[in-house]
Symmetry: C2
Subunit: 342 residues, 2 copies
């Protein structure tokens, strides 16, 4: 039987229990995943539909989560756009030829998902036949992707990115346009192949002041969500440190907004209004607390989150590799036994 609790919560429909999934729910905390990673790199997993299906399904079978998320990386389509990257263990994506000059932009070519990433779409088609829960497709957000492309890797201060943004708004806009085109066609292809929802990981966009987000990113997000809306699937928008951006996020067209642990859900709800669902907001570091403390915190989040329709339990950021799988399994069970009162 297909479990549609996650989709119903995204649409702010009534559900019998609160749906739960975890960002990076297929990952290094799981010994079986680590065993597979001894044979395949992250990128190689994505290139082998059979392996990628197996990895994507693992947390559904092992943890009992209410949604699967395609195993992939936000940089995969960037490589396919002609900007080569490597994923360095414990570092993140690294690009040897970052985008700094206008000519660098010209090297980025149009992204055709069926031609560039047929294995990803094949993985989604296989998962669609197989899964008992909805599959979430995903893409990186335009600011976050741009930051890797311009900095050449992870950054603390996004100096080159912000400098291009304000010093060369023409170049910035060209890059935003190229990325939004990619995000739209890639999201469309994922849904057509079988994804039931899309999440945009704009993880680092919270490094922007609200006025800069409004000027340099919001129009691009509106264009992206405006186009993806046609697909009629839930559209989730996520970043960390986004407290002051939440009210603007509600203007992007997202139907679900992710919140990290820094913003209490009641405050988040006030900022985003009543027309979007919320997803979050358990601090992943708190999965190392004693079981009773984890449950106390989950209880507090569930009580706050369910004060209005449309709440999906998740972490405020990805699962840490050193997390105990048993803790995740118990947390899922705890969320599921919580009785909705509204």
């Amino acid at each position: 039987m297909f479990n549609d609790t996650f989709l119903r919560a995204c649409q702010r429909d009534q559900t019998n229990s609160v749906p739960v999934w975890f960002m990076r729910q297929a990952g290094r905390y799981d010994a079986d995943y680590r065993a597979i990673r001894k044979k395949y790199s992250l990128v190689e997993i994505c290139e082998h539909p059979d392996v990628c299906v197996e990895v994507t399904k693992m947390p559904v079978d092992k943890l009992g989560v209410d949604a699967a998320i395609l195993f992939s990386d936000i940089m995969i389509p960037i490589g396919a756009m002609g900007l080569p990257f490597v994923i360095k263990e414990n570092v993140g994506p690294v690009i040897d030829t970052p985008i700094r000059h206008e000519s660098d932009l010209h090297h980025l070519h149009t992204f055709v998902p069926e031609a560039a990433l047929p294995h990803v779409l094949e993985t989604i088609r296989l998962l669609k036949q197989d899964l008992s829960v909805p599959l979430i497709g995903f893409m990186g957000g335009p600011f976050t992707l741009a930051s890797y492309m311009i900095e050449g890797g992870p950054s603390r201060d996004y100096l080159h990115t912000k400098t291009m943004m304000v010093s060369r708004p023409d170049m910035w806009q060209q890059l935003m346009d190229k990325l939004s085109e990619m995000i739209i066609v890639y999201g469309t292809a994922q849904v057509k192949a079988g994804a039931s929802a899309l999440q945009i990981f704009d993880s680092w966009v919270g490094s922007l002041a609200p006025s800069d987000y409004h000027q340099y990113v919001l129009p691009t997000m509106q264009r992206i969500f405006g186009a993806l809306k046609e697909l009629d699937v839930p559209l989730i928008y996520f970043g960390v440190n986004t407290g002051e951006l939440l009210s603007t996020f509600a203007e992007t067209g997202a139907s679900v907004i992710g919140v990290d642990w820094r913003v209490p859900l009641t405050v988040a709800r006030q900022r985003v209004g009543d027309n979007v669902a919320l997803q979050g907001n358990f601090d992943p570091a708190m999965l190392f607390a004693p079981q009773s403390e984890i449950e106390r915190r989950a209880q507090a989040i569930l009580s706050e989150g369910t004060k209005a329709p449309g709440f999906i339990f998740n972490l405020g950021h990805g699962v840490k590799p050193s997390t105990d799988i048993a803790v995740l399994r118990e947390l899922v069970a705890y969320v599921h036994q919580f009785r909705l009162t509204c």
Copy 2:
């Protein structure tokens, strides 16, 4: 003539212009500083009062800022408490023997500033005779110091720190007690030697959820500021990513609260109330924007900041090493020419 504009703004008294200084205003952006660092490490500068005086004074002479801040590092007293550290270039403080077990806490000894760091107090006494602007003394905040001591270095997720906090609240409290004792005696010694204000850099405390800040840090901050209040100097409290904590910061007893660029000053003012001054909130990455854009942004901050008494112009975090010194000088001049309307 002594320029007391900074102190007057801290006290929310009327001033003729908006005072300005920059976090890390003595630093690698300055070629003369880099030349000194070829001869002395950061810690060695702190150990030589004549050099430390020279470095502390540089930005006052070169940029025209309204306050000097003691050249030092938040880890200096931690070394003096018996936990050795090194400052690794481009990384930060690294501790080979982090605090993980209860026995590790017993190795921390009582900190007596006059005995442990006589050169720091001598530096302050020399500066007091010499400076035409107030000298800001400083200490690390309890969460931020604890995070370096427990993690053994900079961290993205503060996993060990948060785990100790919630799993061993007894150990956490012992550490908070030891740190607050150090912060109080060190702050007191700095003021007695000649510092006219104290800033607590709790830079990473914004990684906590508001409820965790309230439970695990606020009582310690209240104890610290409660004791330091006796000194009758402005007490500044600073961290990044602290938007949701600002209303609680107003309960710490701080007289000035630092805000990064993520929170518009009008919003910050609503959260902290009318009884504290604000300091901030220019995004240091925006110092790489064209001059006209820098001025537009400074103008916006000045207009917002001066809507209520008590505003000090600063960056939302430290000056980046690649910043152009001329840009900083021009920004100081721009802030000084801004005419107060309230």
